[in-house]
């Protein structure tokens, strides 16, 4: 294949062989796991910090402001400074709160997003676990986060938090359907749930182009539903600051608040990368069938640049939503899901299945 | 309805009403015990229809305490200023008009809070601005507070 220059499989195998050659098998597995864990931890922190910075800059530009500009050139160290501040802040413990759950909640939220990131393909061979039910796994794991949010709202013994958590629960459970169904549309087209194969399937054209209108509709639906699932505006009812002060994380401070904060941005990153992988071809370069020269040039751009570029595009779209639209009300939110998104999704799947059956797709 | 006919109208309902001359609005002083019935009548009658209570103020006239009602009819456009007075400074009380004009609910609470005038049958007569256990009524002329009121 043309883009084999950026294939990381052989690189991974080399490390693997070297480890197995020098260490007993159990130790080798442990070392590999540690390496991957560390790599993800660093990646997680860097992406989280960068996203916070990006969000602040994007919204600042949309609002005719400068945004962070004090710490470092253009304020790029602002989020790092904020993070250090959060680390040093006092952890408030609240009277009459459920201590165990209160402390557990941020970890559940952050672990859920950590687990989801493992299945995401960053490039050929750059994937921690390549499940054959990858999509299902990601959907399942990313919705674990709501347990953390519910616990946080319940255990902090604050009515605002509780309302926020309940809203969040209702919201995520209903929007999970739309996320699943819109992904299912593509699964029908791709015929597999494995991320690596989905990406491979898009070698000669991204699914959003291959699948005609249904794929495009699925993409839009996925964007809406995933924005809602990550509790971001205009669906940020769980933390609607003008109504519930800060919703479920009202009572959290310091590093625990930072966990929620990071997890929110990481969830955004995860859904954006799923959108990029499933709809926009993941790390696959942009190809026009027939334009060999053009395609060849595209191949020289490394796959993770493609991948990150697409993810950034989706994230930008989500930020654009957030900073434009006012917030929905809870009944409108559920109406939108159950009365509009879900029926459209179901019809969409049928249409897609029909297209696949007739072989009308590219 | 012009002022003269309005005066006549109120006089027929409350013969004791005293007219005050040379005022911006038609001004009448009404005995406190007759006031509520008069207010109902003014609000309900088709030709007066005083449906808009636009101002309700308490005044401490040193000799007596007074509540001033500014009424207006949004349909006919006439206005009237009614006053009720009491010389009882210890336990002044009038009948509430908050059952007639809902706006009076808050106004009367304000007057109660600052002047200590009670309104009988008021649904929720509590202090509105000041603390529940505040002593005295600050807007009265004889109120003394050496800590919070600084004379310049």
């Amino acid at each position: 294949m043309a883009f084999s220059i950026y294939d990381f499989t052989s690189f991974n195998q080399a490390i693997d062989h070297a480890l197995y050659a020098s260490l007993p098998p159990v130790l080798a597995v442990i070392v590999e796991m540690t390496i991957i864990g560390l790599v993800f931890l660093v990646f997680y922190a860097v992406v989280g910090l960068f996203l916070v910075y990006a969000e602040r800059k994007v919204c600042a530009f949309m609002q005719n402001r400068v945004g962070p500009n004090r710490v470092g050139p253009y304020g790029i160290f602002q989020t790092i400074a904020d993070f250090i501040k959060l680390l040093m802040k006092e952890l408030i413990s609240i009277k009459n709160s459920d201590k165990l759950l209160f402390n557990l909640a941020p970890f559940i939220v952050i672990i859920a997003s950590f687990m989801a990131i493992a299945a995401i393909p960053f490039g050929k061979g750059l994937q921690a676990i390549d499940f054959d039910i990858g999509i299902l796994y990601v959907i399942a794991v990313s919705s674990l986060g709501v347990v953390g949010i519910l616990l946080a709202g319940w255990s902090s013994n604050n009515k605002y938090s509780l309302i926020g958590a309940m809203r969040s629960g209702a919201q995520i459970i209903s929007y999970e359907l739309s996320v699943g169904l819109s992904l299912l549309t593509i699964i029908v087209l791709a015929g597999t749930m494995q991320f690596s194969q989905i990406v491979e399937g898009q070698a000669n054209g991204w699914f959003i182009f291959k699948g005609h209108i249904p794929a495009f509709i699925a993409f839009i639906l996925f964007l809406i539903a995933s924005t809602a699932e990550t509790n971001r505006g205009p669906f940020d009812l769980a933390e609607a600051e003008s109504e519930l002060t800060a919703g479920f994380h009202t009572e959290y401070s310091g590093i625990k608040f930072a966990f929620f904060f990071l997890a929110e941005y990481m969830n955004m990153f995860i859904v954006a990368s799923i959108a990029a992988t499933v709809f926009l071809g993941g790390w696959m370069p942009f190809h026009f069938s027939g334009w060999a020269g053009f395609n060849h040039v595209m191949d020289y751009i490394p796959p993770f640049v493609w991948y990150l570029g697409k993810t950034a595009f989706v994230i930008f779209l989500m930020m654009w939503f957030k900073w434009t639209f006012p917030r929905l009300r809870i009944d409108q939110l559920l109406n939108l899901e159950w009365k509009y998104l879900l029926p459209i999704n179901l019809v969409n799947i049928l249409v897609m299945a029909f297209i696949v059956l007739m072989g009308w797709h590219f | 309805m012009d002022n003269e006919r309005l005066t006549e109208r109120i006089r027929t309902l409350v013969p004791e009403a005293q007219l005050e001359e040379n005022k911006q609005f038609l001004t009448l002083v009404i005995p406190a015990d007759k006031f509520h019935d008069l207010a109902v009548n003014l609000k309900e009658s088709e030709d007066t229809l005083m449906d808009y209570l636009f101002c309700l103020s308490g005044v401490d006239m040193i000799k007596h305490l007074m509540v001033v009602y500014h009424l207006n009819s949004t349909k006919h456009g006439h206005s009237v200023e009614l006053k009720v007075k009491t010389e009882n400074r210890e336990n002044p009380a009038f009948d509430t008009v908050s059952d007639i004009w809902q706006a009076a609910n808050f106004y009367e609470r304000e007057v109660f809070d600052l002047f200590g005038i009670r309104f009988n049958n008021h649904p929720d007569l509590r202090r509105i601005f000041l603390d529940e256990n505040w002593q005295g009524y600050p807007f009265r002329k004889d109120y003394v507070d050496e800590v919070n009121i600084v004379d310049l």
Binding site: V58, F61, M62, Q63, N64, R65, V66, N69, W320, F321, W323, T324, F325 | L152
Partner: protein, 138 residues
């Protein structure tokens, strides 16, 4: 979305005042009410006669005038100010002292960075030490 998108891609419209950095170029409006000052000329002379009208007109008691009566060489008894004390902490910037001053001795100053660590620093003496009144002002 169109509106926000338009502003995102036209960063020329940024309106933020970068305050501490633009201190040098920052110019307040000429009528800006920063604080009350008493302008002195190059001979360290002011126009205040110590009549006390500003003190009377101030709604908050933020002006205090300490004056003494002296006898001029011509034998007239004149009041001159020792201290024109101005409590910035109590001032509400209504401008009545400046408007009512019969000899136009007070004016608005442009200074607006009033934050200090000690409250007593907000009490200012407006006439400079050793200053005197310009001749010919009654």
């Amino acid at each position: 979305m169109g509106v926000t998108g338009k502003y995102f891609f036209s960063p020329g419209q940024i309106v933020t005042e970068q305050y501490p950095e633009n201190r040098k170029t920052l110019k307040m409006a000429e009528r800006f009410k920063g604080e009350v000052i008493m302008p002195h000329d190059e001979n360290n002379q002011h126009r205040c006669t110590g009549c006390g009208i500003c003190e009377l007109n101030c709604p908050n008691g933020s002006i205090e005038i300490i004056s003494t009566r002296i006898e001029t060489p011509e034998g007239k008894k004149v009041r001159i100010i020792d201290k024109h004390i101005y409590h910035l902490s109590m001032c509400t910037f209504c401008g009545l002292c400046i408007k009512t001053c019969p000899s136009d001795s007070l004016a608005w100053g442009q200074e607006f960075e009033h934050a200090v660590f000690d409250r007593s620093k907000l009490t200012k003496v407006l006439n400079q030490p050793g200053s005197s009144i310009i001749k010919g002002i009654e």
